[in-house]
């Protein structure tokens, strides 16, 4: 039974870590690009939002599977 919780923890932890790294890079690049060309800020914001949606797609599915493991398989 404990192995299920460990698996869920690994899924959630890796998903959160990967999303954190991805969002840090994305946010950093947005700030850098906006400082270089402030007139492009609205376009860059839109592109950042679109990329954010793509970035957290897989970790979100991971969250769903981890919750399934915790509350259905182990519960």
């Amino acid at each position: 039974m404990e192995i299920v919780f460990i698996a869920a923890a690994i899924i959630l932890g890796s998903g959160a870590l990967a999303t954190g790294i991805g969002f840090a890079l994305l946010g950093g690049k947005l700030l850098e690009s906006t400082a270089r060309q402030p007139e492009l800020a609205p376009q860059l914001q839109t592109k950042t939002f679109i990329m954010a949606g793509l970035l957290d797609a897989v970790p979100m599915i991971g969250v769903g599977i981890a919750m399934y493991l915790i509350f259905v398989v182990a519960g």
């Binding site: 947005l30 906006t34 839109t46 950042t48 939002f49 769903g64």
Partner: protein, 130 residues
């Protein structure tokens, strides 16, 4: 900040929501072939995606313009953290409080909605007003 000013980017929220809810309805109706439980499980799976994502979109576009870019990045991080937590809490609530649940319908619909949600902003892009 610039809340009293006219927004620079106009979000097609109504069209996004219409596409998402349309996709959700189609999938839920397809799952209805497997029974009533599969229908509402699929509907819940879609809502678990749509509600946190709508909140995230609201937070990301709270601040606009080059001067407010640091605030926007701050809201991006906070919005993502809350979206992640809200998704986990909603999944936990569904698995704990709703009985019975068709798990395959719930997770499959959620996964399809996640992919749809990532693709929809490419198809219907936000428009700049200046």
């Amino acid at each position: 900040m610039n809340s009293s000013r006219k927004p620079i980017v106009r979000l097609p929220m109504a069209r996004w929501l219409a596409i998402m809810v349309g996709m959700l309805m189609i999938q839920s109706l397809l799952w209805l072939l497997c029974g009533w439980v599969a229908f509402y499980s699929a509907w819940l799976g879609g809502l678990i995606f749509v509600i946190p994502n709508a909140y995230f979109t609201h937070r990301v576009f709270k601040h606009q313009g080059a001067r407010l870019a640091p605030y926007m990045v701050n809201e991006l991080f906070k919005g993502e953290a809350i979206k992640f937590s809200l998704t986990a809490v909603m999944f936990a609530a569904v698995f704990l409080l709703i009985e019975p649940v068709h798990v395959l319908a719930l997770l499959f619909t959620f996964a399809v909605m996640v992919v749809t949600g990532a693709v929809v902003p490419w198809l219907v892009k936000p428009q700049q007003q200046r």
